[in-house]
């Protein structure tokens, strides 16, 4: 479980050691939007997912890259090349929705809970610090989301 109190001391120290390098977005990032039933929703994950035909994530400059996951991509064509070895992958191996809940979004759109599902979703490779190194690429993705008329994003970190 991702509770600090449940972790062994060495893991607790590791997790707490990341905090000084984290950015603080704070209240300035707040934006109100329309009703959920009218929103167009995309997923952005840090699970290091990409199409089987894409170049895998890697070290060096490639750490800040992102990959595009078009809506309608079969689950069999989505793979994971996250660098971190410190999270469970057996869940993803059984069901991509445990990290990339695209089937759930499609169901919610059909049920009218959300307005629609974006045509394109995105994955970063979230391992490493500081996360601010991804800002340029994150702004690039934000621009692409706007062009897809997305006004709600579900972030799924692993």
């Amino acid at each position: 479980m991702v509770r600090l109190a449940d972790l062994p001391e060495w893991e607790r120290e590791h997790m707490l050691g990341k905090i000084p390098n984290l950015p603080d977005f704070g209240i300035k990032a707040w934006v109100n939007g329309g009703r959920l039933a009218q929103r167009r929703v995309a997923i952005v994950t840090t699970a290091g997912l990409h199409l089987r035909s894409d170049r895998p994530f890697g070290q060096g400059a490639a750490r800040c890259d992102y990959r595009v996951l078009p809506r309608g991509t079969p689950a069999a064509d989505i793979v994971m090349t996250q660098l971190s070895t410190n999270f469970d992958r057996s869940g993803f191996q059984q069901d991509i929705n445990v990290a990339f809940p695209i089937d759930r979004l499609n169901e919610l759109a059909t049920a009218g809970v959300i307005g629609s599902v974006a045509d394109f979703h995105y994955s970063f490779m979230g391992a490493g610090s500081p996360v601010t190194r991804m800002e340029d690429k994150a702004r690039e993705v934000a621009g692409l989301l706007k062009k897809d008329k997305v006004d709600a994003v579900l972030l799924t970190p692993v």
């Binding site: 109100n32 992958r89 929705n97």
Partner: protein, 227 residues
């Protein structure tokens, strides 16, 4: 981590009490996943923030029977492997597990393997060569050699994980990891690779050894690493 969300203060976040790697909680449980997604999306309609809310539902614990067999040692060799090399033992494991892996692919209609461009035997040989101190041969020109090595290792981990999950019995996140690293020749091979690459003069390869090969939990348990 809740503490990370408290520090970053994103506009709206739902803290979930699940294992890292499973932000939606439970694989193959659409109803459970849907409750998590709906709870997260509901935060979009809050009028003021930042909002950091705790998701109240735990992922169900696996129902482990006390008589459960098969979690401890799913691989047993009929042939005498006592004189075999480590690579030969890994190849024998791959051969024995292949039927389970094929069953897993058949059941799920997909596999997370096949990313490195290497067969499982080639991935094992690639890792074994480096574990024996030989330099990495040129392989792919689209990614760094150290990333080919990482993908080869991940290929083995994924193959073993997918194969063992197809076997009868309950397989937890921890039991799969403990079995791979504690009871298989492939785990032994990757520990050997870890020992070799930790001493590497190549900064990226050393980074791989320190951060991307053996999970911290395994290094501190089976690996016997202290803080």
């Amino acid at each position: 981590m809740r503490e990370h969300a408290e520090a970053i203060r994103p506009p709206r976040s739902l803290w979930v009490p699940f294992v890292l790697g499973r932000p939606l909680g439970v694989p193959n449980d659409a109803a459970f996943q849907r409750r998590v997604v709906e709870s997260a999306l509901a935060l979009l309609e809050r009028p003021a923030g930042p909002v950091l809310e705790d998701y109240p539902e735990e992922a169900p614990a696996p129902e482990i029977d006390g008589d459960q067999e098969g979690m401890a040692c799913p691989i047993s060799f009929a042939a005498d492997m006592s004189k075999a090399t480590l690579l030969e033992r890994v190849e024998a494991e791959i051969s024995q597990l292949r039927v389970w892996h094929e069953l897993a692919v058949q059941q799920r209609g997909r596999t997370a393997t096949g990313v490195s461009g290497l067969s499982f035997e080639e991935a094992a040989a690639f890792a074994a060569a480096r574990a024996e101190g030989r330099p990495l041969p040129p392989s792919r020109d689209d990614i760094l050699p150290v990333d080919v090595l990482r993908l080869a290792c991940d290929e083995l981990k994924t193959f073993y994980s997918e194969a063992v999950m197809a076997q009868p019995g309950i397989h937890t996140v921890e039991s799969i990891q403990d079995w791979f690293w504690g009871q298989t020749a492939a785990g032994e091979l990757l520990f050997a690779l870890h020992a070799c690459t930790l001493k590497s003069a190549d900064a990226l390869e050393k980074h791989f050894a320190v951060n991307n090969l053996v999970p911290r939990r395994i290094r501190h348990t089976i690996g016997g690493e202290s803080s």
